[in-house]
């Protein structure tokens, strides 16, 4: 558990500068931000973004951080949703040099750090992989000895975010296992697998981790998270060891990732 606001303090809005923008998939871009006052964060946390129109109208959304806490800049990953209000703005309007109001980091539950230990299972669906990538990058810096397995389900190979990096890490980092499964392309070749996450796959992964992991992090759409957590519970992974993050709002409208419940 982590206090996200210093005692007596307040999580203030600040103007972060966009330093670089990288297309990650046809629908997903990464925005590197430099924040003037940034005390670091725990892998898995997100930030709030606030946009202000000339007449004072404001829109706020939450976006996950993909970068590791070690990175000097914050990488926000934004999926473009055609019906959205904020994500098309990020994709079509924002340029390097622009300033965007943010505050954070936010979220004290869906986080992983060295002292949490492992083994750790990460399960991500679609852009739900973003906070998990932050954890995996952080692990390489602080605790490469911790066994970590990422199961990442994407619709097509084109939609895999950070695919090259993930495959390179899985090749070169001991104790890191990557399972990429593609649900809407047929056939796909190794290292990709085909189909949705099912009981067999989960059983195989748990065997590879030597039993139930100490912690599991599941992030994606509501349906994805419910299916994945049910599979884990059916394999006797203890309920309190599973942390989830479900997309908040109708993803067709917002693209925001919401952390808190209920």
């Amino acid at each position: 558990m982590e206090q996200i606001v210093p005692p007596g303090g307040r999580l203030a809005w600040q103007e972060a500068t966009v330093t670089a923008i990288a297309p990650l998939t046809p629908r997903v871009k990464g925005f590197m931000l430099k924040a003037p006052v940034w005390r670091g964060f725990r892998a898995g946390q997100h930030v709030d973004v606030r946009l202000t129109a000339p007449d004072g109208y404001q829109a706020e959304r939450s976006y996950s951080i993909g970068s590791a806490p070690e990175s000097p800049e914050i990488e926000l990953v934004v999926e473009r949703l055609d019906e959205g209000e904020v994500s098309p703005f990020f994709h079509e309007v924002v340029e390097p040099g622009d300033t965007i109001e943010i505050r954070g980091p936010i979220g004290g539950h869906f986080t992983w750090g060295q002292r949490d230990g492992g083994p750790v299972l990460l399960v991500g669906g679609g852009s739900g992989v973003v906070p998990l990538v932050s954890m995996l990058r952080h692990r390489a810096h602080v605790a490469p000895e911790v066994p970590m397995t990422l199961i990442y389900s994407a619709r097509t190979r084109d939609e895999v975010i950070f695919g090259d990096e993930l495959m390179m890490r899985a090749e070169s980092e001991p104790n890191l296992t990557l399972i990429l499964t593609i649900t809407r392309e047929d056939p796909v070749q190794a290292p990709f697998r085909m189909g949705r996450i099912g009981a067999e796959l989960v059983e195989e992964v748990l065997e590879g981790l030597g039993g139930a992991p100490k912690l599991s992090f599941v992030c994606g759409s509501t349906a994805f998270v419910d299916t994945a957590t049910r599979l884990l519970l059916d394999m006797d992974v203890p309920f309190p060891s599973i942390k989830t993050e479900r997309y908040g709002g109708d993803p067709a409208r917002t693209g925001a990732i919401g952390q808190p419940g209920p």
Partner: protein, 202 residues
């Protein structure tokens, strides 16, 4: 600060009046929680009122259904930015629970709600009484589904929706305002959407 190139999308004036700062209008009903969805069957459900550590009254789901039922239609506001208008709930008002538990006056100024997944959240008694809050068993005319907190969830619609604990199984009167799950993790101790009290210090 005006954001270069941002104009945004407006809702009608009437809708805008009902949206607290930083919120947007949602037509669906998103699901958010910190862990897996606990499946609690009504026949295994029970609900307990405690004063401090001392249980004062418990009900089975059947007994709970025999308490006075009230319908509330309210706007709800989630700290993750979505709001939903005119949600319809049915359940037992906090006032009626107190009566049924034999409590004429609130014994303490605060309540900590407890849930089946060990979730907790704190609410001042003043925000529960006078028809402001209920333990709801029905949403839009149907039993609340497990992903939305069924068999029963707390409903405190005028505060951010994390206060409306899902899978609720008890209310505990406390002398002090004891921080619950999210309140211990940096979220605001009270959570008024109209004052945008999302995080501690807001």
């Amino acid at each position: 600060m005006v954001t270069r190139g941002f104009f945004g999308r407006r809702v009608s004036d009437e809708e805008a009046k009902r949206l607290p700062p930083g919120q947007y209008l949602e037509k669906g009903f998103p699901v958010l929680s910190a862990g897996p969805t606990p499946i609690v069957k009504p026949e295994n459900w029970s609900f307990t009122i405690k004063i401090g550590p001392r249980p004062v009254k418990s009900w089975s789901f059947e007994e709970f259904g025999a308490l006075p039922q009230t319908e509330l239609k309210r706007d709800i506001h989630c700290v993750t930015k979505w709001s939903k208008f005119d949600t319809e709930w049915r359940g037992v008002l906090f006032d009626d629970l107190m009566k049924a538990a034999g409590l004429d006056e609130p014994p303490t100024p605060y309540v900590l709600a407890h849930s089946y997944d060990d979730y907790t959240t704190n609410v001042p008694v003043a925000d529960l009484i006078d028809g402001k809050a209920m333990v709801a068993t029905h949403f839009a005319g149907y039993p609340i589904t497990s992903d939305h907190g069924g068999p029963a969830r707390l409903l405190v619609p005028h505060l951010y929706f994390w206060k409306s604990a899902k899978w609720v199984n008890g209310l505990q009167f406390t002398e002090r305002d004891e921080a619950g799950f999210w309140e211990l993790r940096g979220y605001h101790i009270y959570g008024d959407p109209w004052r945008e009290q999302r995080f501690a210090g807001d």
